[in-house]
Amino acid sequence: MIVFDKPKSLTDAVFHYCPGCTHGIVHRLVAESIDELGIEGRTIGIAPVGCSVLAYNYFACDMIEAAHGRAPAVATGVKRALPDRIVFSYQGDGDLASIGMCETVSTAARGENITIIFINNAIYGMTGGQMAPTSLIGQVTQTSPYGRDPKTQGYPIRICELLATLDGPEYLARVTVNSVPHVRQAKKAIKKAFQNQIEGKGFSLVEVVSSCPTNWGVTPLEAMKWIDEKMIPQYPLGVYRDRSEEASR
């Protein structure tokens, strides 16, 4: 009999996330990957500043709460001090692609042997819906009330494509979780990103195109559609770097 069970790597704490927010799904995929790889006892996670700031309460492994944007640097410090532990950071778009861009790029360039889960929902959720570095052209937010205008507010940043210009990363993939097949693909990518670290392969980042119905101003169901219609054209899904694939080819 198959019983739907909570992964061991999640605590009993109840998620604070909004209805239709995909953080919960991604948390679960991370926890399942850790469980399946049998690394829960030697994994250390780094939580960001943003909606998932309280992730340290949800993951059952040892956790560190980092300053805004600095999770890759903190992860680097942990990994260098304890090279045989599995270290991951879980970061949003403001954290990873705006205030922490320097840490993101530099950690990737070093090929630091860590795993980064990057939640891209094109908005600042925790502070109430401001423009993110990944907000779409024309997207209305609290700080782009007339729609993001590239003339004054610039263009959205594509992290996977940007990091793929570097020699450092081992694995870069963009996935989403707005449908069952997409969730399956996302799980595969996340697990691979952890597997790579176990094998000492180096920097692995999975960008998860995610939802924020609350701040997008849509229903949870509409949010899933919004991902397909608005987000994916700007952020095409796919693998942007996979050194082991390249090697086996």
Binding site: T11, E40, R42, C61, D62, I64, A66, R70, G77, A81
Partner: protein
């Protein structure tokens, strides 16, 4: 005991840190502390340690935060403008009750300032370098020997009280060479009951964190932290008294200016002026008691500093303004000559004589 060797102050810090069991150094180049990084870059790979040149001062201090979270001895070093950048991370270290060593080989400011010696980060260091209510232990070496000795001491105190410690040196201390006897190596760094090392599936997960959204809890954490600070203030203040037994004038100075003052004091004594010095070795905790006691004995204080009188305010507070505190300051990388300090001593002595 190790043999006496000649070393630059910056190198003495680096070697002493290694001897203290520090195996994780994260830094970013800046004058005049670069020798610390260069020394670490050479040495760490040979002893299985980490030397990492970070992408920024901000990244470096956050790498320290990560390594310190695992319970290991970790450090960074920089000079004034770089320390300003590290302040965010220092605040997080304090808020997460993590021990770590931050070395500041000060140079003149504000802004890009210069690269010559300064003590102008006194406020920054002693008032809590970062946002929020906190302190770091601040140690002010006045010789290459102390650069070495206080490095180990900083790690010990930081771990004892679970708070960051800052070694506050200046460009002269960093660059000069003096004979130094290095401390004996620390064999084992104490185990930490709070470190994140992986649960091993054998215990509850640990969280290193400075966030608490409940004002009730956050206040309690702050109060607990300040209880610890009280203990530090009561037990850990360090200072050196120089010719204070019969002194009527007390110079207060640390680091390089204490060295200059020493010359001036010897010269003044030759002229029969009874002057001595209290040299704070810890700037936080500040040796308040020693100074308050001196206030009963001397008629004047003179604070000799490479800033516009930052420590002088702490002296006035410590002695509850019972006696005048004269300032003898040079800034921007200038260092007072013994003659300038002597001039200040004459002024204090003459004023008293003319009463």
């Amino acid at each position: 005991m190790q043999e006496k060797v000649l070393m630059k102050g910056n190198e003495a810090i680096a070697e002493a840190a290694i001897l203290a069991g520090c195996r994780h150094y994260f830094g970013y180049p800046i004058t005049p502390q670069t020798e610390v990084a260069a020394y670490m870059a050479k040495k760490m790979p040979k002893i299985g340690g980490t030397f990492l040149q970070a992408e920024s001062e901000i990244a470096a201090i956050n790498m320290v935060y990560g390594a310190a979270s695992t319970g290991k001895r970790a450090m960074t070093s920089s000079s004034s403008p770089g320390i300003a950048l590290k302040c965010e991370g220092i605040s997080y270290l304090a808020g997460s009750d993590l021990p770590a060593l931050i070395v500041n080989v000060q140079r003149g400011g504000p802004g890009l300032g210069g690269i010559q010696p300064s003590q102008s980060d006194y406020y920054l260091a002693t008032r809590g370098p970062g946002h929020g209510d906190f302190h770091v232990i601040v140690l002010a070496p006045s010789s290459v020997q102390e650069m070495a000795d206080l490095t180990g001491k900083a790690f010990e105190l930081a771990e004892k009280y679970r708070m960051p410690a800052m070694l506050l040196a200046d460009g002269t201390m960093g660059q000069m060479m003096e004979p130094v006897v290095l401390p004996d190596p620390v064999e084992t760094v104490p185990e930490k009951t709070w470190a994140v090392t992986g649960t091993g599936c054998a215990r509850e997960h640990r969280i290193i964190n400075s966030l608490d959204l409940s004002p009730v809890n956050l206040e309690r954490l702050n109060l607990e932290r300040f209880k610890r600070y009280e203990k530090v203030e009561a037990e850990e203040a360090m200072w050196e008294s120089f010719l204070m037994e019969d002194a009527e004038i007390c110079i207060v100075s640390c680091g390089i200016t204490a060295r200059v003052s020493r010359n001036a004091i010897v010269a003044a004594r030759e002229k029969g002026i009874r002057v001595g010095m209290i040299r704070p070795i810890t700037l936080w905790p500040f040796p308040k008691k020693a100074l308050l006691n001196a206030a009963d004995q001397v008629h004047d204080f003179i604070c000799v500093e490479l800033n516009m009188g930052q420590m002088a305010e702490d002296v006035e507070l410590a002695i509850r303004c019972r006696k005048p505190v004269a300032r003898c300051n040079r800034v921007g990388g200038m260092i007072p000559s013994p003659d300038e300090v002597l001039e200040a001593i004459y002024k204090a002595a003459g004023k008293e004589a003319g009463k």
